[in-house]
């Protein structure tokens, strides 16, 4: 019936399908099976997640029971098994039936046992290494340099005082040797007057230097009024953008999801933190101390994984704050304009503590509006807003449409 040629093709094809399964059946890999089927809900020695911690599971139940439970927990429960019903009562969630062969289940159990033994062995405490430690060091050395300079100044003052005394002593000795009588000690004011008369040039130079220096310094201080560039306040939780956005590559929008939809990018509500920190209870640099502050704000108990009634908001310190006399809309810039977060906020993914990167002055806004080209193509926002050819005609041969050309520097665009 089967064509011989066709059989020649089918047989290797069938073998191709069967062989990988045959190999995996002969030597099931407990670690990868655990990762694919169990790890989403169970840990080994790291506390309970959705289901119980599986460390020492073999000591709690026989292998026979475990085989039945993993195959189908629901049918074991319906058979009236006391422990199965107790577990269901505790977690109130049905463990899905696992389509694993007995040998695969045994491999998984073997993996759980070896991991459990590893977990109960004295754990080596991982020391925080890297970014945060390094930046803390540079900070403290910055503080030190001021004290070093102060110390040098004090030493110089002492040296100056000693040298003055030596000079006076020597003058006195010379006068005594030559038989010149000691000059009558003039009152302090007169002495200063005499000194000033004999040092006119020095005083003139000092006045000029001080005058120039203080006017330059004063100018910059006045120009700095209302500008908070470089503002880097302490926050209630030592949250590191470098760790979350930099190393773990969590996108900005994940937490600041308002940036695409509303005027404000928004500080994430604590429920967003809990999307990960329900499972991650220990950080690589600060251990449990900082994550515990999230739990405290939510009145959440990580051991029972339940929420209490006394949650309170976390009061973060706002870093970027435009004056209320200017209107700024995030969605207009992020969604319509396609501006990258980093354009205004700088390399946040490298900041351990969030810092104001841009000056946020009007000149800074206007400069960007003058030079930035509007992305009109495939941008539905401008479909009914400005017919593009008309706009091109209005601006002659100049085909570059900047924000300024569509009214981006009009006063009432931002101030109303």
């Amino acid at each position: 019936m089967t064509h011989p040629k066709l059989r020649g093709v089918l047989l290797p094809l069938a073998l191709l399908f069967i062989l990988p399964f045959a190999v995996s059946a002969a030597d099931p890999d407990g670690a990868s099976l655990f990762k694919a089927n169990c790890a989403a809900c169970h840990s080994v020695g790291k506390g309970k997640l959705v289901g119980p911690d599986l460390k020492d599971i073999q000591k709690r139940q026989s292998e026979d029971w475990l085989l039945k439970w993993i195959k189908s927990s629901a049918s074991l429960r319906k058979s009236g098994d006391a422990y199965a019903n107790e577990i269901f009562g505790q977690y109130n969630i049905e463990m899905p039936d696992q389509s694993l062969s007995p040998s695969e289940i045994k491999a998984v159990l073997g993996y759980i046992k070896s991991e459990g033994d590893k977990a109960s062995a004295p754990a080596s405490v991982s020391t925080p290494v890297g970014g945060e430690g390094a930046s803390a060091e540079t900070d403290s050395s910055g503080d030190n340099s001021f004290y070093v300079l102060l110390l040098i100044a004090v030493i110089l003052l002492v040296v100056a005082a000693v040298l003055t005394r030596v000079r006076n002593g020597l003058q006195k000795a010379i006068r005594a040797k030559n038989g010149i009588p000691e000059p009558a000690l003039l009152p302090a004011r007169q002495r200063m007057y005499v000194w000033a008369r004999s040092n006119k040039k020095l005083i003139a130079v000092a006045i000029i230097v001080l005058g120039v220096w203080s006017s330059v310094k004063g100018w910059y201080m006045l120009a700095d009024v209302g500008i908070s560039q470089g503002y880097q306040p302490d926050q209630p939780i030592a949250f590191s953008h470098k760790l979350h956005a930099g190393e773990m590559k969590i996108s900005c929008i994940y937490c600041h999801s308002g940036a695409e939809k509303s005027k404000t990018a928004g500080v994430p509500s604590v429920n967003v933190c809990m999307n990960c920190h329900k499972a991650i209870r220990q950080g690589p640099t600060t251990g449990t101390a900082e994550i515990a502050k999230i739990y405290a704000a939510l009145d959440y108990d990580p051991n029972t994984m339940t929420y209490g009634p006394n949650s309170k908001p976390l009061v973060w310190t706002r870093v970027h704050n435009l004056p209320d006399l200017a209107y700024f809309n995030h969605s207009q810039h992020v969604k319509v304009g396609g501006v990258k977060c980093q354009t205004c906020h700088g390399p946040v993914e490298e900041m351990t503590v969030a810092k104001q990167f841009a000056p946020l002055t009007m000149g800074w806004c206007i400069n960007c509006h003058r030079t930035t080209q509007v992305k009109l193509e495939n941008n539905h926002y401008y479909d009914n807003y400005h017919p593009v050819p008309e706009l091109m005609g209005k601006h002659g041969r100049d085909t570059v449409v900047t924000v300024e050309k569509i009214g981006g520097t009009e006063c009432a665009r931002c101030h109303y």
Partner: protein, 208 residues
């Protein structure tokens, strides 16, 4: 004259150095935002989105809609957050959006912003965070291959197992767009197989 300047300049020079040092040290404190000119124009009496607010007992300016009200253009999700609700949503709930290339592309963009960290580039549960101690979720093309779209929507809305609710970050339309993209990930790797087998079957009778 030069000599006298050198001779007498020691004390004032030192004083100048020290005073310069002290004044120079009064640099800007990065923990403080600095001075404002006319703060009454900078800060209006209205409350800002995330600012604290003494008018409410929980001190938050961001409010939930009043109980019993429905925002404009918002469809309430009626399935309860229970195992039964999950099953019912899987059976009854259908995607109101069409599977157009535009919707799938937008779903992919949203997936890469909100899901990829755990579920991974191809939805195999191998995202960046699973390499950093986060328990890996099941694979879309593996255990979750036949997961109905209603269950997906239910899970994104309420959360499922270790995954938290993403309803505060994604509105219903965005969730459905992501689901359209996930449905392509459920069959990832299958498409080339189907392509290669289809011509193989067709070729045989042709040669015959």
């Amino acid at each position: 004259m030069k000599k006298s300047i050198l001779k007498h300049s020691l004390r004032p020079a030192v004083l100048l150095c020290v005073s310069g040092l002290m004044l120079g040290a009064c640099s800007k404190d990065s923990k403080k935002p600095g001075y404002e000119y006319m703060p009454d124009m900078y800060r209006s009496p209205s409350y800002e989105t995330n600012s604290s607010n003494p008018n409410f007992p929980d001190s938050m300016t961001s409010r939930l809609p009043a109980p019993g009200t429905i925002p404009v253009a918002y469809t309430p999700y009626t399935y309860p957050n229970t195992n039964e609700g999950y099953e019912a949503a899987g059976k009854e709930l259908k995607n109101p959006l069409e599977s157009t290339p535009e919707n799938i592309a937008e779903g992919k963009r949203l997936y890469e912003n909100f899901c990829i960290h755990c579920h991974g580039q191809e939805g195999k549960g191998d995202g960046m965070l699973t390499q950093r101690n986060f328990p890996p979720p099941p694979s879309y093309s593996g255990q979750l291959k036949n997961l109905p779209e209603g269950k997906m929507f239910h899970s994104i809305t309420y959360g499922k197992n270790l995954m938290g609710s993403h309803a505060s970050q994604l509105n219903a339309a965005e969730r459905w767009k992501i689901i359209l993209y996930i449905q392509t990930l459920q069959h990832i790797g299958e498409v080339p197989m189907a392509d290669s087998s289809a011509p193989a079957v067709k070729e045989k009778p042709a040669k015959k």
